[in-house]
Amino acid sequence: MADTTLNKEVEGKRIRPPERGAPFNAVEDIIYRRRSVRYYLEKQVPEYLVRRILEAGRFAPSAGNAQTWKFIVVQDKKMIAEMEEDVLKVCRRVKRFADYIEPGSKHKEWRAKMLMRIMPNSFHPIPFTAMKVMGEGRVGVWHDAPTVIVLLADRRSPGDPSVDIVIAGQNMVLTAHSFGLGTCWVSFITPLNFYPKWKKRLGIRYPYKLVTSIALGYPRGIPDGYVPRETQAIDWFSEDGTFKVVY
């Protein structure tokens, strides 16, 4: 039995799909206008708003309704700075060991190319460049966000645990943007796996595994807006048995 006391306006009413070419509804608007925010106010996000965002994550779909996620909220500025410093240390080390952009020594380039073959996702040119820029101290990790939400997944959960946790994260991110807050997905938290001290402090031990993190805060300026995006090719097997590619 649905609880009608929470929101009487929508409970028990059928939602009609929009007409052809109708303007965007509120949810679509939030999705299309969401931009990653990398410039935050120092103001802390109040606890009730963070709780409300986490609640949206709790109601995400998951494989087999297992709901195997764990969220860690870090609002301690000292701790965020410490985490950031340790991530930057790893970036600096990688930059010293392997660098194909500005090799410097003859070994750095082939090491970088070897790493790219072994771990093509972690050492893709884009994260590689990000590591380089972060190692130089030009960009921070969490961009001085006052709150960081760390997402951990349960290794024993059905299906793919990282998929479940990221669905929950997307729910939280969209909710945060509907409150006028800014968010940014930061997966550069994974270097903290190399530190036993952080594993102990954040409780990353079996069955939990560190997946990603979300920076959360009040944005400076108005960062949300429509921008062009690339239209990817979509293969379409039609009802009448024909095949087409749409963009």
């Binding site: 679509e28 460049t129 400076r220 960062p223 062009p228 690339e230």
Partner: protein, 107 residues
């Protein structure tokens, strides 16, 4: 007139990347007349590809690490930033079937 580097000009810049061989970076055009010099686009850019010169924003001439995310386009209060070229990886990292960039469409 908007002032930006054309792609042909940018290929002439000497750098450590093999431009045009490994990757082509994104390009934004900033209208110098309507730019109010608020400076919001500078810290917002992850690649630090925008700088302020004489209270006007412009793309870094040296080697702008633009990944065409559009954050500068969205944050600009004067709407003077425009995304004109998307970044593109080549060789083994080339993306397939990208299509043309378009704003959200209503079907």
């Amino acid at each position: 007139m908007p002032e930006y580097l054309t792609w042909k000009d940018r290929r002439k810049i000497e750098s450590f990347y093999k431009l045009g061989e490994d990757l082509n970076l994104g390009v934004v055009a900033i209208d110098q007349d309507s730019c109010s010099g608020c400076g919001l686009c500078v810290p917002v850019c992850v690649g630090r590809a925008i700088e302020m010169v004489d209270k006007k924003a412009r793309m870094v001439t040296d080697f702008p690490l633009c990944m065409s995310c559009g954050d500068c386009v969205a944050i600009c209060p004067e709407n003077s930033v425009k995304l004109i070229k998307f970044f593109e990886l080549k060789r083994s990292f080339r993306y397939l079937d990208r299509g043309k960039p378009e704003p959200p469409r209503r079907f």
